[in-house]
Subunit: 387 residues, 2 copies
């Protein structure tokens, strides 16, 4: 097990009606609030009205930035920074999923930085200060509600890049599973795949002696496998929504990463797809995952895939390891297909036109991933297999 | 899943040589430090010297309270409060296992309270303020390094009682698995049983829909089952010590409790034993656990024990549920026996003389536990079965 520094300071208020704590929670943090949200589903399902009612009743001043995109854009970040500066905002309340939260984190950091927020993503500047943020989660997927990560898309440069910083961790997050019962099936599915992909990126690791972390990771995977299909059929199943919501936070709050080398190759490959084609992140991950698994399966990785098969998919331990590994990968693919994830990149409008360029960008100068390091040619083969 | 409020603010510095961060960590918290420790093993294995060297090199003033007992006593708490007040202490550094940390927490709270610290335990006063504390963990067992719990023994009243308070959570904990390599086998074993018992108290629950939490709990149990026997044979096995150390923290930092009704009957019964006979807590738990399991096994609990058998002990799912449950309990008992836990209360010097009195105290006015509520007569039967 590698040395690690554990810090998960976000307070989480989990369950029905936890929104009632919102006024008290905000008052600890600030008095002039920016509300951030997306396309307006929170206006249709009543969450927005409830929040406004609470803020008004507590006499908390607030301003708004709506319309933040899935794959949130640098332009939205800049708009948010402008609003914060003009109105002396001292706290940001993100209402939505990972896109809204990620965008809010960079608005929070950008507020204290004179230059372009994109500088944080290209190594030109380091985040050293940020406005405090809180979140009200409405979709189970990215885990952004409990970590310091943010991913932003720059349409001009066709880049989608990530930063991670302790300062960006939300002060509090309200996780009410009821809020996710109105999420449409396609987004619910994409979210479940995103959670599983986060676990895979940490589970398939060169670190062999983090036994506890691996068993914790399997716990999250089993939860997604159990409840993923249930929420598609029964969107209002509270037990299923609650387990998936908590799984999304646990999957990427650090717990599964501490003490391990992690991979993140599949995410790296997917970010190139959604940077250019603006596809749903979880769908891109779902298409790529089994192809990544098949590509990196070899003598050095077969034990881990076999372990995955036995512990997660209950594959018979008597078969030879390679057969077990292949069966585990096939099970993963079947599960995603049964959820309704498209099987190919073609199905989401991606052809072979820009694969080379994306493979080059994903590989960068140093290659991608660590479980098995991928160079441009490797990535290109994975993209092509997924076409 | 029940509603819950998640808060695990303790920063953990895990791994070899993390002690080198100590000076910086303390300076964030205070300038006049009380070191607390136990019987002196930290003086024999060099940890004490290293800490003193760091404090001296950073010019941090410190005072000392050594000799804190296993099953830490109210008298030690009072002595600690006296030292803190006389020397204007502003930070407590606990070096040791759960006993040292628990004692330090109540010293920290007692410092700000005019009355008797025992008032916190008998409902006469609430903890509302405490000095900040940090810990350097030297034995994997209680999880006190990441939570707000403290258990103190009052020899005068022959009581061993617990409190839990957010304010008592350590600011930081240094977890270096190397520090546990010199822990003797009997204490290592008791620690492993303590970790497993913490999991059982949360796992065997009336809450049936906290699927994720149950799988996380099984992850911790599997870790103890894998590495418990290894550390007995190979005390210096870093991988095993590291996994057990992190398991001890995860087992009782809240992660397995959030969203669930928990039981704590076995702990309640054990506290009566160690309050009077001053036995090692983990040994008492090890003796009682399988008897508690057998006693509470019935139609309403059989499913959970069967699930435990399948998921933790790989018991064949084809047998009938009662047989599976009984096998799981037998496996637990065999595992503890193989670790070297005594089989009976007689072996640790407890006879039937005061069983009635202990059963009465454990049951209190409202009975004990929740998975199956135990009254005095139930507890007495469990004690007698364990004799």
């Amino acid at each position: 097990m590698l040395n690690f520094n554990y810090s998960i300071p976000t307070k989480v208020y989990f369950g029905e009606n936890q929104i009632n704590k919102l006024g008290r929670l905000i008052k600890k943090q600030g008095s002039r609030v920016l509300l951030t949200y997306g396309g307006g589903s929170i206006k249709r399902n009543g969450i927005y009205d409830k929040i406004v009612e609470i803020l008004n009743s507590q006499e908390i001043s607030f301003f708004e930035l709506g319309g933040i995109e899935p794959n949130p854009r640098l332009t939205s970040v800049k708009e948010g920074v402008r609003i914060c500066r003009e109105n002396n905002i001292d706290f940001i309340l993100a209402i939505g999923g990972g896109s809204i939260i990620d965008c809010s984190k960079i608005i929070a950091a950008g507020y204290h930085y004179e230059g372009e927020p994109w500088d944080f993503f290209v190594g030109k500047a380091r985040i050293t200060n940020a406005l405090p943020i809180g979140t009200i989660l409405t979709i189970s997927a990215t885990g952004s509600e409990m970590n310091g990560n943010a991913v932003i898309s720059n349409l001009e440069t066709e880049e989608k890049l990530a930063v991670s910083n302790e300062i960006l961790k939300p002060k509090f997050s309200i996780l009410d599973p009821m809020y996710t019962t109105t999420v449409p099936a396609n987004q619910t599915i994409a979210g479940t795949v995103d959670i599983m992909s986060h676990v895979f990126e940490q589970y398939f690791s060169l670190t062999k002696e983090a036994f506890l972390q691996d068993r914790l990771a399997e716990a999250v995977l089993k939860t997604c496998i159990k409840y993923g299909p249930i929420v598609v059929k029964e969107p209002e199943n509270y037990e299923a929504r609650a387990n998936l919501m908590w799984a999304s936070s646990i999957a990427l709050n650090g717990l599964l990463t501490y003490g391990k080398i992690t991979d993140w190759a599949t995410h790296g490959m997917e970010h190139e797809l959604s940077a250019i084609y603006d596809i749903t992140h979880g769908i891109g991950l779902g298409i790529l995952t089994s192809h990544w698994m098949s590509y990196v399966l070899d003598e050095s990785t077969v034990d881990k895939f076999a372990e995955y098969g036995v512990n997660v998919w209950n594959i018979d331990i008597k078969e030879d390891k390679l057969a077990m590994a292949k069966k585990a990968i096939a099970k993963t693919k079947e599960f995603f297909a049964a959820l309704g994830i498209p099987a190919t990149l073609h199905e989401v409008g991606i052809n072979d036109e820009r694969l080379e360029e994306m493979a080059q960008k994903a590989a960068g100068n140093r290659g991608l991933g660590s479980f098995k390091k991928l160079q441009k040619e490797d990535i290109l083969k994975i993209y092509k297999a997924a076409l």
